[in-house]
Amino acid sequence: MPLQMPFFVRRWFLHRSTKVTSEGLQFLIFTLAIGIAAINTGNNLFYLLLAMMLSLILISGIVAEYSLRRLVLHRHLPDLIVVNQPVTATLVVKNRKSSLPSFSLTIFDVSDGRDLARGVTVHELPSGASRLVSYPFLATRRGRLRLDGVRVATEFPFGLFMKKAFYHVEGSVVVCPEIIPLDERLLQGLMSTGQEQNLHRRGHGSDLYNLRLYHAGDDSRSIHWPTTARTSQLTVRETEAEEQRRATIRLLTIAPVSHDVVFEQAVSLSASLVQHLAHQGYVIQLIVGADCSTFGHGDAHLHELLRMLALCQRSDPSGEFIARKKFEPDRREDEGGTEIVVQSWCGPEDHQPMRLTLLVDGQPVDGALHGL
């Protein structure tokens, strides 16, 4: 049976670490030299100096420990961040000690056991006080980014040792795929190949939708005078709404490992399309693998779609797919609007990992890879 250390010892080693600084190393060398001189000469005044230096080392450890104790940390991150787009993260540090201040606190984010330097230093934190510090936060991979906690380090009081303490401040944030500017040719392809679908309903627009009898409260400017004159009944003209357009974006998640890079590009392209179309006022539905969203618009819907893309996973093709020579995406029932399919793998015949396919209403569009 392996030797088990007591819990508090394991916890201590997990939460505390000490490193000698370059100045500390020089100090230790001087201490050693004075110790040797004291032993050689038997001079008690050398022993006195040696004792002073040893006490400085001891006090370093004790004061650093007190400096790191009883801190409370809260991290605030945006709900959604995008790959390679810096955002501002904030951290509130509070010193809950009753009388002792904390000095020279350097703060690291801890993710996957690694310390991520943020360049954040709190020089002085009086007892009972709090500081709000902010730092740029940049994610380089999409998905759910988990932050285990915060590591606070200090070299106070003498800069001889760097002592670190770990605080559990768990946090997770969804990192959206990178949004890339879409190529002009791709947009033209979308416009020309894809049929812009107007949903036939009344609204503001120029095209005629319907003629009907005038009701009390109708705008008198909308009276269609030729028909009124012809029929001797007040008739108003209704126009067809132009701004409501529909699009369904399908991201196929089946791709082998060799197409991992292309899959990530496909995800990024999908996110860019979602973003672009949402800004264009489209009502968008996103289908990622087996997950399907509703049609919708607005910021909340956009964030929901981006979150789907952030969390989607590539799935290896099963035997059935491999058996097929060519991988044909399933067509869904026509719900109106444009269907855009983003495909990173075309089936077993596809041996070109760099090939990304974009189908608009079943028609391939060139330039999908451009800019990725």
């Binding site: 100045e23 020089q26 001087f30 004075i34 001189a37 032993i39 050689n40 000469t41 038997g42 001079n43 008690n44 005044l45 050398f46 022993y47 006195l48 100096l49 040696l50 004792a51 002073m52 040893l54 006490s55 400085l56 001891l58 006090i59 004061v63 409370v72 509130v92 509070k94 809950r96 009753s98 002792l100 201040p101 000095f103 020279s104 230093t121 020089h123 002085e124 009086p126 009972g128 709090s130 709000l132 070299e155 106070f156 009081p157 003498f158 800069g159 001889l160």
Partner: protein
């Protein structure tokens, strides 16, 4: 003061302290001391923003190449110094160190320069420690510790902005706010750390194992030159040192009150042969003393056929300064001597020696026994001495009829040896005058000159005259040199013995009592000193501090550590008793007062328990005082926390009121989160504000988490928005 300015100042002070240490330790020649001191003053003046000086400095400043050249010149100078000027590594190294310090002081630009300066100052304080053991090292060390703590702390705090440090440190007038300033909190923290550091230094100093490999050991300073303790002493040799106030030893006499001794004789060497001008010790053959236990030596025999064992024992602890003689001094007549000596020697006259003079201060303990005059010696029985005895102690240099007649005249009426000796002593004390101005050295027959012509002299003349007169009438006598201590330090309970206390007296041999000490020298009559008593008291206090410094710091050794360990091992009991005694002494007035209360309140049967009651009450008061903070903290929780809690609770109540105004009332059974849900359904625009305030309220109220000012500000903003929404 800004951090970078404070760092610069403390760094200069650190260097200044180490420089003062070296200067006081006589480690620097005058020109170098002036150069370094001047450099420090200039740098300090520049620090305190003397604009004209700064302007001047900007004009006369060297280039970095110039400074480098100076370093090279200094290094060459170091070799020249080592081989041709000082001739030793240590002084030459110290001189070079000071040159480097001056150069660094004028080049404090980068953090690296500061580190170099600290290293130089550390080596300098180390060097001053090797040059001295005097008390002044203690305040220098304390100052160095305080300056060191401040410097290291500020150096660490200014480390924060690595990119800007060179700029900040080089030009302290710019951007002082970037890093911050020394706050009162930091000031007290730094001084508190220095204090704690000093306490820990003492603890470590006393407990760190003393291992002395001794590859490079040396004494400190030169031995004090003294006279009167060699094999042959010319008459008048003690005179010149009688005006020297240097301290040669300190003698602790634990049971002094029992003896009530105003004059304490410290015996050195005795002499048996007088040739008319000088005394010689012909019994000076030394033999090693046997060791009874490690470090304890027994002195047997004083060339005395009838040693007396009836006198009182005198215990002494002697701290002897490094002298140019190997004699170990002690009160007459020494029986045991203990100390950290490998070997102790003794001659036939009972004088004790080390094999060679000690180069450093030594401490040893002696048990002596006084020889009183026994009643049997007051009678007039005829006395016979062995031939070997009379050859040494009845020897006279020549037959002087005048001295013989004088001695006969004085002792004619007396019958016993003691009475005769006493008569001669009385005669000399009453008929002669003490004076240090007695130039008898060049006289052909100094004793006759003293007795019959000048009639003034000092201790040697009196002692010689009495010894020769006694020998003339057939009584064995010998001259003894040593010290007569009269200066009692009441603060440290010891005698201070100075060079000027050097003294000579005689020892008379009585048939039954053995050797008995007699002193024929009259009081000097010279004023003790024209200084104020307060000043002398201060001097004695300082001397006591010096003694403690020497004992507990300079002389502290592995043996002392072992003694402490042994003491602790021997018992918690004795240590406990000592601690109890100390506590009792400290609290005795209170205990007496409190002890009286039960006596007053209860019957007299409780009287013996009064002190115990007092002790218990005092202990309770102390415990109460220690726990009062905790009790108060529990009774009245953190005011700040309560205040913050109240703020968010008030905000939450106001939010409830606003919602109630809009018809969304919170019932007593609705939880805060349920209420948020209700509010969202019934007034969706207010959802953000309600949810935000409720979350902060729950965190503070139920989560026990302190809210920051920023969070409270957010809550207030949300409430404001809610109010606006309600109005619109």
């Amino acid at each position: 003061m800004a951090f970078n300015q404070a760092l610069r100042l403390t760094s200069i002070l650190l260097a200044a302290v180490s420089f003062i240490g070296l200067t006081l330790g006589s480690g620097l020649p005058a020109w170098l001391a002036v150069l370094t001191g001047g450099g420090l003053i200039v740098v300090l003046l520049r620090q305190f923003t003397v604009e004209s000086l700064r302007h001047l400095a900007s004009h006369v400043s060297f280039s970095s190449a110039g400074w480098n050249l100076l370093v090279i010149v200094g290094f060459l100078g170091f070799w020249v110094d080592m081989f041709w000027v000082s001739g030793e590594l240590l002084p030459a190294g110290i001189h070079f160190l000071m040159i480097l310090m001056v150069i660094k002081l004028f080049n404090l630009k980068l953090r690296r320069d500061y580190l170099h300066l600290y290293a130089i100052s550390l080596v300098a304080i180390l060097a001053s420690g090797s040059l001295t053991t005097d008390l002044w090292y203690l305040p220098i060390f304390l100052l160095y510790l305080v300056a060191g703590v401040w410097t290291l702390m500020l150096f660490q705090i200014t480390k924060g902005s690595e990119d800007a440090d060179a700029l900040l440190i080089a030009d302290q007038s710019r951007q002082p706010e970037l890093l911050g300033r020394v706050t009162p909190q930091l000031f007290w923290l730094a001084n508190g750390l220095a204090l704690v550091c000093f306490g820990m230094t003492l603890a470590i100093f006393f407990t760190i194992p003393r291992i002395s490999a001794g590859f490079y050991q040396k004494g400190f300073g030169k031995n004090i030159r003294t006279s009167g303790f060699s094999e042959t002493v010319n008459l008048g040799a003690i005179g010149p040192i009688k005006r020297d106030p240097s301290i040669v030893m300190r003698v602790e006499v634990p049971r002094r009150t029992l003896h009530a001794m105003d004059r304490f004789y410290v015996r050195g060497v005795s002499f048996d042969q007088y040739d008319g001008k000088s005394w010689t010790n012909r019994l000076g053959y030394r033999r090693n003393l046997s060791e009874e236990s490690p470090g304890m030596f027994i002195i047997r025999g004083h060339q005395s056929p009838a040693p007396s064992r009836l006198g009182d024992t005198i215990q002494q602890n002697i701290l002897l300064e490094p002298l140019d003689t190997s004699v170990l001094f002690a009160a007459p007549f020494a029986e045991k001597i203990s100390g950290k000596f490998p070997v102790v020697q003794s001659d036939f006259a009972g004088s004790v020696y080390l094999p060679f003079p000690s180069a450093s201060r030594i401490e040893y303990s002696v048990v002596s026994r006084s020889h009183p005059v026994l009643p049997a010696d007051l009678g007039s029985e005829p006395t016979h001495y062995p031939e070997s005895f009379t050859r040494h102690f009845l020897q006279i240099p020549y037959i002087s009829g005048r001295i013989g007649r004088l001695a006969e005249d004085i002792t004619r009426a007396q019958t016993s040896p003691y009475e005769k000796a006493h008569a001669i002593q009385t005669f000399l004390i009453h008929n002669y005058r003490y004076s240090l101005d007695a130039p008898l050295a060049g006289v052909d027959r100094p004793l006759e000159e003293f007795l019959f012509l000048r009639k003034t002299g000092y201790c040697e003349h009196y002692a010689t005259a009495m010894a020769i007169m006694l020998r003339t009438v057939g009584i064995p006598a010998r001259l003894v040199t040593g010290f007569l201590a009269t200066e009692w330090n009441e603060y440290g309970s010891y005698y201070v013995v100075r060079q000027q206390d050097a003294h000579a007296w005689i020892e008379v041999y009585l048939p039954h009592s053995g050797w008995v000490m007699m002193d024929p020298t009259p009081p000097s009559g010279e004023p003790v000193g024209d200084v104020y008593p307060a000043w002398r008291a201060l001097e004695r206090i300082l001397d006591n501090v010096k003694l403690q410094w020497s004992r507990f710091f300079v002389q502290y050794s592995a043996v002392d550590q072992l003694a402490v360990v042994r003491e602790l091992k021997a018992g918690g009991q004795s240590v406990g008793h000592k601690a109890l005694d100390s506590m009792a002494t400290l609290f005795s007035p209170i205990l007496r007062l409190l002890g009286g209360i039960p006596d007053y309140v209860f019957s007299s049967t409780l009287r013996p328990q009064g002190s115990s009651w007092g002790l218990i009450v005092v202990a309770c008061i102390i415990l109460l005082a220690l726990s009062v903070k905790r009790i108060l903290a529990r009774a009245f929780p953190d005011k700040k926390r309560t205040h913050e809690d109240h703020r968010i609770v008030d905000l939450y109540k106001q939010m409830i009121k606003r919602l109630a105004d809009k018809g969304i009332a919170k019932t007593a059974t609705t939880t805060p989160l349920e209420f948020v849900h209700i509010a969202r359904i019934r007034w969706s625009e207010a959802n953000l504000a309600v949810a935000s305030i409720t979350e902060l309220y729950c965190r503070a109220r139920f989560g026990g988490i302190h809210l920051t000012e920023e969070e409270l500000g957010v809550a207030e903003d949300r409430l404001r928005c809610l109010t606006m929404l309600g109005k619109s």
